[in-house]
């Protein structure tokens, strides 16, 4: 791993993939299938609904809290089991976890993200799903989110972290 990679990893652990295996492109089809199922759940449970997000932030419904809460519990149990039994990937690679380090970006960026979430009623995942359901104008929201990401990358060294 070169210097840039490890530096990027410290800042942003989500972006570096630990797999050392080289696979042909079609191995990625399995992630497409998981994505399809994920998208269907997001539509059917109305997670992509602007109205549901407004309800959540007004404490008017348990629905979204139930979804996030039970998702985290299932996620925690799964990770605990993977660690306890040293479960490996289907290719036999070890499953690894990278600790996240705290920086003030999690607060400042988190607040800005929250403002955007309350406004658009969508975090990044639902943006893709909403476009799929035919809300084509959401493509503008997505492009704007990409522009926001780009500006962050541009200004990053000058922002408090």
């Amino acid at each position: 791993m070169n210097h840039t990679d490890s530096e990027v990893r410290r800042q942003d652990t989500m972006c570096v993939n630990e797999s050392q295996l080289q696979h042909r492109w079609y191995h990625n089809i399995k992630y497409l299938v998981v994505g399809v199922l994920f998208g269907i759940v997001f539509v059917k449970a109305e997670i992509i609904s602007w109205f549901r997000i407004q309800e959540m932030f007004r404490f008017q419904s348990f629905h979204m809290y139930g979804i996030i809460g039970s998702a985290v519990i299932v996620g925690m149990l799964s990770v605990w089991l993977i660690r306890k039994f040293n479960i490996r990937t289907i290719y036999g690679e070890p499953i690894t976890f990278t600790p996240k380090t705290f920086n003030k970006g999690q607060i400042y960026g988190g607040l800005l993200f929250g403002l955007g979430w309350g406004l658009t009623g969508a975090c990044p995942g639902p943006l893709f799903v909403q476009i799929g359901t035919g809300a084509t104008v959401v493509a503008v929201v997505l492009l704007s989110a990409i522009a926001g990401t780009w500006l962050y990358g541009k200004l990053r060294d000058n922002l408090p972290h």
Binding site: G35, F38, G75, T98, Q106, G125, G132
Partner: protein
């Protein structure tokens, strides 16, 4: 069976399914759930502009792009074959509040009266769609992840910085929905 599938799914079915994304991605290839990273990969692919933050081997991250293309496809599948014909049912006090802003169409996941191409070119539409999207993209990268990477994946792996991020997400959302949005829509 189909009738049952077409109804809105309860939280106790959907939440665990969303949570299972974490072990499924790990077991399929040691992949860490995190959707906003794709916005960064899009920048790295299309406009790296010699910015250090966008210079990395994005080809290793194609799996994640396949995942969101799948999510987009899931949106198509669900709306073509599993759509709920009924309008979305939400809390009555939200319905009353939104009626005050002229929002009363619950036929779609996003309010039709706000999310359409004509509205996009109004001042409110620009704030909501262009401004909102910008905050989502800038904020999620500044925070090092979004709801999937921090609130689901980060909390599942017991990372306290992800809890800080999640609390901040919620705080920003409360402020927007309860204080700022009424000013914008009003």
């Amino acid at each position: 069976m189909m009738e049952w599938l077409k109804q809105p799914w309860p939280w106790y079915i959907a939440g665990p399914l969303v949570g299972l994304t974490v072990p499924v991605l790990l077991i399929l290839g040691n992949k860490h759930f995190g959707i906003s990273a794709n916005l960064r990969h899009a920048c790295a692919m299309c406009f790296p502009s010699d910015i250090k933050f966008f210079k990395y081997d994005y080809k290793k991250e194609f799996w994640n792009l396949f995942f969101v293309i799948g999510a987009f496809g899931g949106g198509i599948v669900a709306s073509l074959w599993l759509a709920n014909p009924q309008p979305i049912e939400v809390n009555a006090s939200l319905v009353a509040e939104l009626a005050g802003y002229g929002i009363n169409d619950y036929s779609s996941m996003v309010p039709q009266q706000l999310y359409n191409w004509d509205y996009l070119l109004s001042a409110k539409g620009l704030i909501m769609m262009v401004g909102g999207g910008f905050l989502v993209g800038f904020g999620s990268r500044y925070a090092g992840g979004c709801t999937s990477g921090h609130s689901i994946m980060g909390l599942s792996t017991l990372q306290w910085p992800s809890l800080v991020a999640t609390v901040s997400f919620m705080a920003g959302g409360f402020l927007m929905s309860n204080v700022l949005l009424p000013l914008i829509l009003g």
